[in-house]
């Protein structure tokens, strides 16, 4: 509770003493944006943590072994995530709905349990040490890049690609019949999402002295999914709002000697989604998984959620 008090009474001091928290909000927002891209194009891909891992490990390993500058390491991490995105995307993108979700879960678990834990260079179970980490200084990059990313994604949704994604999400067959190269555009979304996640992973590793292999599993992907769905994935800002809300929630309900935070958090999740099923910043339907009996989505210019 004092969290809010301090924020309101002395925002500058709040900012200075909570840089780690704000940086985490920023990174979670970037991850949520990565989720936005795939959800907006109708793909329930849960692969983000896998690409994060690629970004994180690549950037730290390069820094440790080759002493290359951070910016370069990050870039290589992003590109590598993109390449893996293509490789993984090719077979899975023809899967629909929940099947795609499970396939991507398979990918991240196979990556973290099968590959990372068994390849000596990653430090296996012990993780990687990152002596170049800068926990208190990284916040500037994080916030700046978040702003850029959100702006770019917004522009994207306004343009032809964005409209195509919207159409694909609503009805893939219809989009195909309109001449939209569905497979190619879906792949673009998937790879873009992979690169964003790789970037977030690389950034996150820069804020910690330690890359932990257990951070990139199903628990992480559920968390990121929750950001996007709770925030509302019809709009670029939705997932960012979701990330902001959920990352600060544990701090808002932090009361001395009260150990039931998770109970409250779970209750809040349920309440929010029931009263705003389209998400906090909802707009339009979200027909990702469409079993036969959910009502057909109305046009995307419907009333705000």
């Amino acid at each position: 509770m004092d969290f809010i008090l301090q924020l309101v009474t002395d925002p500058v001091a709040f900012y200075q003493t909570h840089t780690l928290l704000i940086a985490e909000i920023g990174i979670n927002s970037i991850l949520a944006s990565s989720m936005f891209v795939v959800l907006y194009s109708g793909q329930l891909s849960l692969a983000a943590p896998g690409f994060m891992a690629i970004g994180a490990y690549t950037s730290v390993l390069m820094g440790n072994y080759w002493n290359t500058p951070f910016a370069l390491n990050l870039l290589v991490g992003i590109l590598l995530a993109g390449v893996v995105g293509v490789v993984v995307g090719l077979p899975v993108l023809r899967l629909r709905g929940v099947f795609l979700a499970i396939a991507t879960i398979g990918f991240i678990e196979a990556l973290s349990l099968g590959v990372i834990l068994n390849v000596p260079i990653t430090g296996e179970g012990l993780g990687l040490k990152n002596p170049d980490a800068d926990p208190l200084g990284g916040i500037n990059i994080v916030l700046a890049s978040l702003a850029v990313i959100v702006f770019l994604l917004w522009r994207l949704t306004q343009g032809r690609l964005g409209h195509a994604w919207d159409a694909i999400r609503q009805d893939e067959l219809a989009a195909l019949s309109q001449g939209i190269p569905v497979a190619r555009y879906k792949m673009i979304a998937f790879v873009l999402s992979a690169m964003l996640a790789g970037y977030a992973g690389g950034l996150e590793s820069h804020l910690n002295f330690f890359v932990d292999p257990t951070e990139y599993g199903v628990a992480r992907t559920v968390q990121v999914l929750t950001f996007a769905v709770l925030g509302g994935s019809g709009n670029v800002l939705g997932p960012v709002v979701g990330a902001l809300f959920l990352t600060t929630l544990p701090e808002i309900v932090r009361v001395p000697n009260f150990d039931y935070r998770d109970v409250i958090a779970g209750a809040i999740l349920i309440l929010v989604i029931i009263f705003r099923p389209q998400g906090i910043v909802g707009r339009g339907g979200l027909a990702i998984i469409r079993p036969r009996w959910w009502p057909k989505s109305r046009s995307s210019a419907s009333a705000p959620g």
């Binding site: 780690l20 179970g125 993780g127 040490k129 002596p131 910690n208 002295f209």
Partner: protein, 400 residues
Amino acid sequence: MKRERVILVFLAALVLAACGTTSSSGGGGNAYAGKTIKLGAILSITGAGGVYGPQSRDGMKLAVDQINKSGGVNGAMIDLTVNDDASLKAQSAQLAQTMIQQDQDLALLGPTLSNSAVGVHPLAESLKTPILAVSTTGIHIVPDCNYPDETPCKYVFRDSLGEQTAIPDNIMAYAQDAHPKTGVLLVAQDDKFSSDGGTIVQKTVDQYGIQLLKVIKFSKTEADLSPYVTQAVQLKPDVIFITSLGAIPAKIMTEARNEGWTGQFLGGNGFNTATVSKQAGAAGKGARSASAWYIGNTFASNADFVNAYRAAYSKDPDQFAAQGYTGIKIIADAAKRANLTFTDLAGDRDKLRAALETVNIDTPLGPFQFTSTHDVKQTVWIIQMDGAGGFTLVHEIKPS
């Protein structure tokens, strides 16, 4: 007349001096009267670390109450805030920052888990705040706390006996008792604590002529460990080393006994709680580990601690409660000698750090002093599970 007045003044001065010395624990002045010593503890009360956090908290609170009730530290009351990091690294680090920069705590204690400590300790070091680890036992906690240059960290201390000491002592004791020839190591490869322990085992066994037949790695979240235990048992080793914590040791031991294996279990800190002994039940009988504390130890302040804990919480303390309790005692002692100003936080933190290095007090863990690397030097207790949810003492290894 003059002489009488002098005597009167002299007597008055004596009386005043006597009044000034209240019966604070360990005696000593009223220099800090009216001030508050703010301490912060980052503990895992929820999440997987919640198996240890609450006990640390209870031990700490008991110490704080005792100290405050008997006059505080030189008259200053201790104000301890305990925050839960939900066993999450990110929250742990954020809490550290907030408590250091916003709450302006003089010193920190914790965090509970080694995984979190990797992020929190370097942060405390870079922000020049003393931090005392009360339950982390992995490698690289002290002296090199992973801060950029790996030089000894100045502000990080530990009162929890490290696995680097505990595991080898345990293996040595058993090797001297029974001369085992072969062993198998079961290690949870995605758990830092277990991996660290596994590394230590592998480095130690050669010294005692034990051949490690196989190192079996598994994931700590696996529901059923039978296939791994089967692999181990089929090799017919004399010893099975288990370096995990939580539910894993009991599961392994139960399965191994079911499959007919009759050898010796040797473990690390993960064995040292009553719940593990209880969960393992008869299968765990005789399983050995090295503990930093034993409820029946005869050190001066232990009996008082155990009785006070039982009175306050209606249950027995464990190793984590003892280490938490000791942690507060250590900081209180250092604070007393540090000549704190209460106006210059940075200066006070540095003075506290210096005073910590020279702590030398009686605690439930025994006579306590830090080594030159801010680590623990104390008696090691070799204990074994009694098959009924408790432990019995096998050996007492005094510090060299």
